[in-house]
Amino acid sequence: MMMVSPSERYFEWGAAMVRMLTDSGRPGVYVSFHRPFGNVIRALRYYGVDTGKLAFVDVATGMAKEKGQKNPKCIHVPKADVDGIDKAVRDSLKKLNGKKFIFVDSLTIHTFYRPPGQTRRLAKTLIEKIDREHANYIVFNVAEELADLEFIKALSKDVDEIIKMPSK
């Protein structure tokens, strides 16, 4: 699924989606390119998300060359490489039981640090998790104004559903 949100309410809508999924009893893996672990957990709680149901893969901290805060709920990926992120998501999914989801926050930020071809490969690799690792949903949150980027257009062909969130 691709979730297209207006940039001004981007995180708010993303949090609403995660909240809906966790409230329905599903645990999930939150892959963050946008925010470091400590910040994302505070921000999600601010929007009422039960973060106890989430495992985190923090790519943002490593991309900013900061050292990640150690926490059993989070795997830090220091170099934003596709294989590293893939392994971290796989390991995080293994920790969760039952029907689960993957939420990808701001995949476009990966292209600041890596060529778009790698980001595209990463998206495909994550989509494959649905069958191989028993994840039931994968949600890519994308800013509405970035939906015209080539790799987002390509990604939109690989997803089953695109949801547009309103600006108000």
């Binding site: 940039s7 001004e8 981007y10 995180f11 946008h34 925010r35 470091p36 400590g38 910040n39 505070r42 921000a43 601010y46 943002a60 901290t61 991309m63 900013a64 060359k65 900061e66 805060q69 701001s106 476009t108 930020i109 600041f112 640090y113 800013a143 509405e144 104004e145 970035l146 015209d148 980027l149």
Partner: protein
């Protein structure tokens, strides 16, 4: 009215959040002064990244406006290019120009480590910085700085002027912030 709106928003701002203040060129100084005065009165130390005015000028404007600057630290991206002699003290770091993003990043990192207490970073302005940098390079720089701020729980205020910029760049910047406050129509 601008003052009231900024006060309302800053009062609601949780610790460590990052706010984008969108305003017009004519209102930008009022917006900056109001925000800085409020943060100073709330006991914050501030790191001010100036891409528009030299340190000496900012200092005198702030003082004239009754803003306590004792806990303000400046990264001045202007003076080395436009001012013949620069004042040296612990409250200011100079970088060659607005396009020296590596130097700017290092100066900000040093200040983040050295400035004590709860602090904010004020960037004035995103628009000016975008004029002097390749957008994709600047957005990467911004993501890096904002992530560091989030790691260290530093509050951020970014001023952006109401001018035509590429919609995808604007969206990238907007999505990096926690809240956008439009002060254009006031």
């Amino acid at each position: 009215m601008i003052e009231q709106k900024i006060e309302e928003e800053i009062r609601k701002l949780p610790e460590g959040w990052i706010m984008l203040l969108e305003t017009t060129a004519e209102n930008s100084m009022t917006v900056s002064l109001t925000a800085l005065k409020m943060l100073s009165e709330r006991g914050y130390s501030g790191i001010i990244i100036s891409a528009s005015r030299p340190y000496s000028n900012l200092l005198s404007v702030y003082k004239q406006s009754g803003i306590e600057t004792r806990n303000f630290y400046f990264v001045d991206c202007i003076s080395r290019t436009f001012v013949s002699s620069t004042e040296k003290n612990d409250h200011v770091a100079y970088v060659d120009n607005v396009a020296s993003l590596t130097d700017l990043s290092m100066a900000v990192n040093n200040m983040m480590e050295e400035v004590p207490g709860k602090k904010f970073i004020f960037i004035d302005s995103i628009t000016t910085m975008l004029i002097h940098n390749k957008p994709e390079v600047f957005v990467k720089f911004l993501h890096s700085i904002l992530t560091k701020m989030r790691v260290h729980m530093i509050t951020g205020l970014l001023v952006s002027l109401e001018v035509e910029i590429d919609k995808s760049i604007k969206a990238e910047i907007t999505q990096l912030c926690d809240k956008v406050i439009k002060l254009n129509e006031l």
